[in-house]
């Protein structure tokens, strides 16, 4: 039991519901420093938090990351542009399609490739399907941290399986899809697959309603999630938080609307915003976002045109991707991933290998404000707040 160090001397007025008073003034109690360590049932992968507890209340929390660092950016600088496409699957291994989308978009912006209509529609469909998969599993894992013994996760996984079967049929692998190519796709989508997607999209709202009756009005869930880990608007904007976290705090910023990249500006959908920005809002904003994605999928499935799947410009490079040499210059392409703004920054010096390659990972940036949200809350809440941020360590550590 380490006695309290003097580092807590300064009186910190952070979140309003608990102020850390100067310890020496009152009778000093022993604090408990515990490692919510890399090997812990609910840290969503290899992630450590050094938590200093006063009783059950968290006074300081230092996240420790880097256990899953695979040097992704350095590897990409020694390989051709196309060769690092399968590595982007491993960034946020829950939504490989949106990662591919981001990388393909960036290189298309760099080499000024225009993409056929049918490819744009298929990309939007695949991106929205990954958003469904990610949000459903994120809610499932949040409920797991709250203690519901695996039932919500398994309901979520039942729906996720159907979508992953679609990915397997289209791209060849359930999670490591490697399906997008610069200027097009690896393989065309057959009408049978489109039929199956339409079947899933028609049945998904019924599942969502059942999921909501199980969770949204559940008193214990409301007790555990409301007014817990409140993220004020200005802190969210200053810390450049993006994704459902930001929208739960009420900031209207969705890259699909802001950039309108690919064909998103053709679809009519709304962006849900949360009133308070606590764990409950993040949960409910994700459910509303799923309903919006279903609207987009409906419209995309209706409007998908026929046509070839690879841009004319890139046909010679299909057989020999490594001698694709984009012009000198730099490009930053970003995509509204399920976890936030997923950006790829690439600098090319005209050779076949990028000179500099950097990934803006939303989970990593969303993690920076974990301590501000957790200070003053209980240990049980700190775990739930971490769950509500919905991080994937592959993306955080790259």
């Amino acid at each position: 039991m380490t006695t309290r160090t003097n580092s807590l001397k300064t009186t910190m007025q952070t979140s309003k519901n608990y102020e850390v008073r100067d310890p020496q003034s009152s009778i000093e109690t022993q604090t408990l420093a515990i490692n919510v360590g890399p090997q812990h049932p609910s840290t969503h992968g290899v992630f450590r938090m050094n938590v200093v507890l006063d009783g059950e209340v968290v006074t300081s929390l230092k996240p420790v990351m880097g256990y899953l660092h695979r040097n992704h950016e350095q590897i990409a600088e020694n390989m051709s542009y196309a060769a690092s496409m399968p590595y982007t699957d491993r960034l946020d291994y829950f939504n490989s399609m949106t990662n591919n989308f981001g990388w393909a978009l960036t290189v298309e912006k760099l080499a000024a490739i225009d993409v056929p209509e049918r490819v744009e529609y298929v990309r939007v469909i695949m991106a929205e399907l990954t958003r469904l998969v990610n949000h459903v599993s994120a809610i499932g894992f949040l409920l797991n941290d709250l203690g519901a013994f695996f039932t919500p996760v398994l309901y979520a996984f039942r729906e996720r399986e159907k979508i992953l079967d679609i990915f397997e049929e289209v791209s060849g692998s359930r999670m490591m899809c490697n399906y997008f190519r610069f200027g097009g796709l690896r393989r065309d989508v057959t009408p049978a697959v489109l039929e199956k997607i339409r079947g899933i999209v028609n049945k998904f709202p019924a599942f969502l309603d059942e999921f909501e009756t199980l969770l949204t009005k559940n008193e214990i869930l409301c007790m555990r999630c409301q007014n817990v880990g409140i993220l004020p608007r200005d802190l969210a904007v200053n810390a450049s938080i993006t994704g459902p976290l930001l929208r739960a705090s009420g900031v209207n910023y969705d890259i699909r609307k802001v950039d309108g990249y690919s064909v998103y500006n053709r679809f009519e959908f709304k962006v849900p915003l949360g009133p308070k920005g606590d764990v409950y809002d993040r949960y409910y904003v994700r459910i509303l976002e799923m309903r919006e994605s279903l609207k987009i999928l409906d419209q995309a499935l209706k409007g998908i045109p026929a046509g070839e799947i690879m841009a004319k410009k890139m046909l010679p490079f299909v057989k020999s991707p490594r001698n694709f040499k984009p012009p000198v210059g730099e490009a930053y392409g970003r995509v509204e991933g399920p976890k936030g703004e997923l950006g790829f920054y690439v600098v090319s010096d005209g050779t076949a290998q990028p000179w500099r390659y950097h990934v803006r990972a939303p989970s990593f940036i969303n993690l920076t404000i974990l301590e501000d949200m957790c200070r003053g809350q209980k240990l049980a809440d700190a775990i739930v707040i971490l769950g509500s941020i919905d991080i994937v360590l592959g993306e955080v550590d790259r």
Binding site: I34, G147, L214, D254, V285, L379, A380, I383
Partner: protein, 385 residues
């Protein structure tokens, strides 16, 4: 029906008369006690083993999967497999743990779990020991587990188990009081503490004599059942062993057979507490056609199913919410309940029924309004363009 009903009692008396032939009378008394003990020593662990299987099967079915079906037909040998696994697992004791207490704690937990079987009326004339202080015996013995859990967590010198131990003690004490108070109306009405007498008192006018059908009985049943779930650290109240927060709570540092003892104690507590709830409120072995012991097991396993159902659905309380529910909701409710039971007992019928239901409904409404900040808020979500 009488034959099926008393089949076990007659079996035992035939064995005793046979033994009576060549044994002195005092040895026959000992043999009778020994038979009862033997039956309990078999029922306890066997119910525990098959409760683990039932739990995994029921939870699986709630989650659209099948549950263990590889070991034996429909997975019936799974408890055997678990038992062997537990026996062969290495038993690790942390280096600076307090060795003696680390060994003693699991034993201290299992003893009350087994002692408590003595008072449960399995059927007509099938009570191992019909003590005149039966219910009080049950409650006081099951209150000793608090010390055992705390010594388990304190001895394993592990921060997570310390947190788990503190939560366990806080939870056990704050849910013991509403549990004892919710039993008091039953004792008022039956004027006896013995479980056998309580079950006999519920036999009146067919199945409708059960205490759960009276207003105060229903409120007491809800309070008692919630406290029972909290007492054996099961689902919405499983803070002491919250996997997602404090790894495995007070039995983090236990493995092998010691962990199996904790596991056995938890399930036997679940069985005995639902058995007591069934005895006190659902008329123990009272029931129209089936033999008495069949009714007892049906009611007990119905309550156990509800406990498993809780586990399959509900997320976990936080420490302060759990304490708040006990002290600010269940305790006042059970106190009011004693008042209502008295009123029900002495007022004449029309006023009694209406009055007690009104009193209970009003108190329930008042307490939820007093705990307003723990009730869910209404939220409106607007859509940015």
């Amino acid at each position: 029906m009488e034959f099926m009903d008393q089949i076990f009692v007659n079996l035992k008396s035939t064995v005793l008369t046979l033994a009576g032939g060549f044994l002195p009378p005092w040895a026959v008394i000992l043999l009778c006690a020994a038979i009862s003990l033997g039956v309990i020593a078999v029922i306890g662990p066997v119910t525990m083993m098959y409760l683990t299987l039932i739990e995994r099967k029921v939870l699986a079915r709630m989650q659209n999967r099948i549950g263990p079906n590889r070991t034996g037909p429909w997975g019936l040998l799974q408890p055997l497999a678990d038992g062997i696994k537990m026996l062969t697992k290495e038993d690790i004791v942390p280096k600076n743990a307090d060795r003696i207490v680390h060994l003693v704690a699991p034993i201290l937990i299992v003893i009350p779990a087994l002692l408590v079987f003595a008072v449960i009326p399995f059927g007509k004339n099938m009570i191992p020991a019909d003590l005149s202080v039966g219910v009080l015996y049950f409650l006081s013995i099951s209150s000793t587990t608090t010390i055992a859990i705390f010594s388990a967590s304190w001895a394993s010198r592990n921060k997570y188990s310390l947190l788990g131990g503190m939560r366990a003690v806080a939870q056990m004490i704050s849910y013991e009081i509403p549990m004892v108070l919710s039993v008091v109306p039953i004792l008022l009405v039956t004027q006896s503490l013995s479980t056998g007498a309580i079950v006999r008192a519920q036999g009146a006018y067919g199945g409708w004599g059960w205490f759960v059908f009276t207003p105060w009985g229903f409120a007491a049943f809800i309070t008692f059942f919630l406290c029972a779930v909290a007492e054996c650290n099961r689902s919405p109240f499983d803070l002491p062993e919250a996997e997602s927060e404090i790894v495995a709570g007070f039995h983090t540092e236990y493995s092998g057979m010691k962990f199996a003892l904790f596991y056995m104690a938890e399930f036997m507590n679940a069985f005995t507490l639902s058995a007591l709830a069934a005895t006190l409120f659902l008329g123990g072995w009272q029931g129209p056609w089936l033999p008495s012991w069949a009714w007892f097991f049906i009611k007990t396993y119905a309550l156990i199913f509800i406990m498993l159902w809780f586990r399959g659905t509900l997320p976990r309380f936080r420490v302060d919410q759990m304490m708040n529910l006990a002290w600010k909701f269940l305790l006042p409710l059970s106190l009011i309940n004693i008042l209502v039971a008295g009123f029900w007992h002495f007022a004449n019928p029309p006023l009694a029924i209406g009055g007690s239901i009104a009193m209970l409904w009003a108190s329930g409404w008042i307490f939820t309004r007093l705990n307003r900040d723990y009730t869910p808020e209404k939220r409106t979500y607007l859509f940015g363009e």
